[in-house]
Amino acid sequence: MDFQTILILAQDAITNSAIYALLALALILVFGVTRVIFVAQGEFVSYGALTLASLQTGVMPGTVWLLLILAFIAACMETARLLVSGARHKLPGALATILAPPLAIAALVKICTPLHLHLGWQLILTMLIVIPLGPLIYRVAFRPLADATVLVLLIAAVAVHFVLVGLGLLFFGAEGVRTPPFSDAQFTFANLNVSGQSLCVYATTIVFVAIMAWFFNKTLYGKALRAVAFNRNGARLVGITPHLAGTFSFALASAIGCLSGLLIGPITTLYYDSGFLIGLKGFVGAIVGGMASYPIAAAGALMVGFSESFSSFWLSGYKDVVVFTMIIPVLLWRSLTTAHYEEEE
């Protein structure tokens, strides 16, 4: 293996690691705030790329229907909840906040789809469609289970994964897509070709991590979210509602997932079910971080990216085996360094 190959593999590794790191951050946040191990997060990656591909071909993406259906179910559940708790006067306001944005987005997509807008506008439309899916899934599937054990929430998350993959096939078919790159530029540094898209991936990751760091360290709401992740009951006692925090963390999960899909859509071909495996690799990173530490999870994501990229060179067929088997020594290490016995809730 010459130096040139190493550079190319490393570049590949860093690009993928950036995506895994973003996904790992979202997974840890969602787990901390809601205790949901959100295995379905990867589906937003596919949904993002496939929704953009539909918009490109001038077809109304199926995800818009999912958005409307979820909003409708959420509205029904909210109505039932408010009627049972006797807070009828809150009903119009609650229904407006749940139903109005999805309806507006659907209308906008309906108008814009045939216009073949510039790529930038289509990216924004895609995000508008996919991001609200996160909070709506939280409302419909997880919020009624807020008091359940981690185990029950995990089973629910796996069920949501099944639904989203099945719907992905229904909406987009079995064919893979490659979305257009954000930039066609090519740069050459010391014999190494770097595509503009890879630079976009790096830049977006850095900007996103910086925004998140600022948000969680400097803003009141970010601090409140960290408080919920640290101690749910304590946060509730000082007036931070866990439901709002849950909604926000799921919004962040769908946003990061969708963005990741748009970023790597031009680099790899994505199918309706590709997202799951990508999400799980982010998971391996998150597990390295013990589902709690953001910096260690980012390091774990780098580890996943590098072992994936280099094993694809040496043992191409065993790439995924290597990545997922790596979790065993990682868990062993965590098990040995975790001094106390963690009691179940």
Binding site: L151, F162, G166
Partner: protein, 583 residues
């Protein structure tokens, strides 16, 4: 009666299936195979509170091991079964040993990874035939007869399934099984009675993996062809869906779920692609939605409904078994517990500081003090739940500081919990039986095969005796969760007595008791003392203790404030100051 009729009609249905066209026979065989896997998963998920997404991978391990060894090396399938089981036990043990020490969600995450890795390995390793799989696997041979006939194989599968059901049922109704059922409430309770939570969890995980491996082996020699697709992560998830829908808390839920999901899948795979006019596994959408609905509205699954309709099981009367052997209490007045200059520090905070006191055989000592004095910390240092920072604790001739709670329990120390730790779904009698964990020694195998009957009956009789002793005989067969909090505290005492202790540690036993109940409790404790038992009570209620205990140890701010007879303590100015804030 209705239960028996249900069981008979279930067996009749099983016997009758082969009379129908072969499509139903195939369905029946698959349901049987999946039931075997699901039974193991019920034990792991519904009973123990852990879960695995890797059961399909263990199934694949069984199927592929046998497929490769029988086709490539023409080994006998019976030999390959043993090899497959050995491999399964090793892998399950490693996965369990690595993850079970940490939080409950690490096992499912590890099994997701293991499931995916194995699936890709099946598809990539050349000797395993890649995605084409392995063909022409031998049929099983039994007494020289080849089991090629689908009818015979159907009976074989269901025979194995019913045996698995019987064994699992036996296991749950045994000494180890009761401890396993208690694990969901946290490990500290079972460990206080001498069981090892980690060991039990790992045993159950291995047990469920072994059942899955067995099903995979049966599958390989039924199909006589294997490829990777039935052993992927999706199948592993479907097993979990089966028990969620069927009912994760009952072994019958496993069979119900396997039947419902298998039949529904067949029906949906017929209808949905036509409805959508597109091909694909759209049934997973329906399954996913069903699971979310079941989890939100009927967490016990279908079987919980059936269970509600069935009449409750008749209470089996207590037999007349010989009593369990008892310890010989040491001579009255000899030193039993010696706490020697013990300190517990949390960083700079001294929760317990230089505490020393003794408890002699046959006396009741009250450990009292205002809120936050460090009484419960002291209690947990003695029972081994917390490690001490400094000092020594001796129990009889043994130094117990630094020992694991289960080890201390073995020496004859038995405790109750301040926050009641009973298993609400188990009967009061079964809860008390957990106390006798260390008094019989039947292992997993004798439990599975029902060889533990005799000693288990003796434990049952002992638990009934203790319940009679504390005056709760009439509540013996009701779920412990339905008792009032005061009665639950008394059940905790009965459970502790069931361990036949030398020293009874009681953590606030009178909290939540009414006046009369307190009087009865005091009478019970003084009876125990006259039988030679020693008791250390942590308590708030001075009045309750004043006429009961022989001696008081008073704590304040983690230190010993005073020690002496009740009348001395009553007039001790320092104690009055601490309790009443000075008059």
């Amino acid at each position: 009666m209705i239960r028996r009729a249900g069981l008979i009609s279930f067996v009749m249905l099983l016997l009758a299936v082969p009379l129908f066209p072969s499509f139903y026979l195939t369905m029946g065989s698959y349901i049987g195979l999946y039931s075997i896997v699901a039974i193991g998963l019920v034990l792991l998920t519904g009973v123990t509170g852990l879960t695995s997404f890797g059961q399909a991978a263990f199934m694949g391990l069984g199927a592929y091991t046998s497929a490769v060894l029988t086709t490539q090396f023409s080994w006998s399938p019976w030999l390959t079964l043993l090899i497959a089981l050995a491999l399964t036990i090793i892998i399950a043990f490693i996965l369990g040993a690595i993850t079970l020490r940490m939080g409950g969600h690490y096992l499912p995450l590890a099994t997701i990874a293991w499931g995916i890795s194995l699936y890709f390995l099946f598809g990539t390793i050349p000797i395993l035939g890649g995605s084409n799989g392995i063909v022409d696997i031998n049929a099983l041979q039994l007494f020289g007869i080849e089991l090629r006939d689908e009818h015979i194989y159907y009976y074989l599968i269901w025979g194995v399934c019913l045996v698995a059901l019987w064994i699992s049922n036996n296991l749950l109704d045994s000494r180890e099984g009761r401890a396993v059922r208690a694990l969901k409430g946290g490990v500290s309770m079972v460990e206080a009675f001498g069981a090892s939570g980690l060991r039990l969890k790992n045993i159950i995980f291995i047990y469920s993996a072994v059942l899955a491996c067995l099903a995979g082996w049966l599958y390989a020699h039924m199909q006589r062809f294997v490829n990777p697709s039935p052993f992927g992560l999706n199948q592993g998830i479907e097993f979990l869906f089966m028990i969620t829908i069927g009912g994760a808390f009952s072994l019958w839920g496993a069979i119900t779920g396997a039947a419902v999901i298998t039949l529904l899948k067949t029906v949906l795979q017929g209808i949905l692609p036509k409805l959508i006019s597109q091909s694909g596994n759209f049934e997973i959408i329906v399954f996913g939605i069903m699971i979310v609905v079941v989890l939100q509205w009927m967490r016990g699954g279908i079987w919980a409904f059936v269970e509600k309709l069935l009449p409750s099981k008749p209470d089996r009367p207590i037999g007349n078994s010989p009593e369990l052997a008892m310890r010989i209490q040491p001579e009255r007045g000899s030193k039993l517990l010696r706490v020697d200059d013990v300190t517990k520090a949390y960083g700079g905070l001294m929760a317990v500081k230089n505490m020393s006191f003794e408890v002699s055989t046959g006396e009741i000592v009250g450990l009292i003090g205002p809120n936050g004095a460090g009484k419960s910390t002291m209690f947990n240092l003695i029972s081994g739940e917390l490690p001490r920072t400094q000092g020594n604790i001796h129990f009889g001739a043994h130094a117990i500081s630094g020992l694991h709670p289960s080890h201390i329990a073995r020496l004859g120390l038995s405790r109750t919990f301040q926050h009641v730790r009973l298993i609400p779904g188990m009967t009061t009698l079964e809860n008390v039986m957990i106390g006798a964990y260390l008094r019989t020694h039947d292992g997993i195998f004798s439990a599975c095969l029902r060889l533990n009957r005799g000693s288990d009956e003796r434990v049952r009789a002992e638990a009934a005796k203790q319940l009679r002793r504390v005056g709760l005989e009439e509540s013996m067969f009701v779920p412990a969760g339905t008792l009032s909090l005061g009665k639950q505290r008394v059940v905790e005492i009965a459970r502790a007595l069931c361990a036949d202790p030398l020293l009874l540690l009681l953590d606030e036993p009178a909290a939540g008791l009414r006046y009369l109940e307190k009087k009865e409790l005091a009478a019970l404790l003084s009876d125990l003392r006259s039988e030679g038992l020693s008791v250390l009570i942590v308590e708030h209620d001075m009045e309750f203790l004043m006429n009961l205990v022989d001696r008081f140890v008073v704590m304040e701010f983690g230190e010993k404030l005073a020690e002496g007879m009740p009348h001395e303590i009553r007039s001790n100015p320092a104690v009055l100051e601490a309790y009443l804030g000075g008059i």
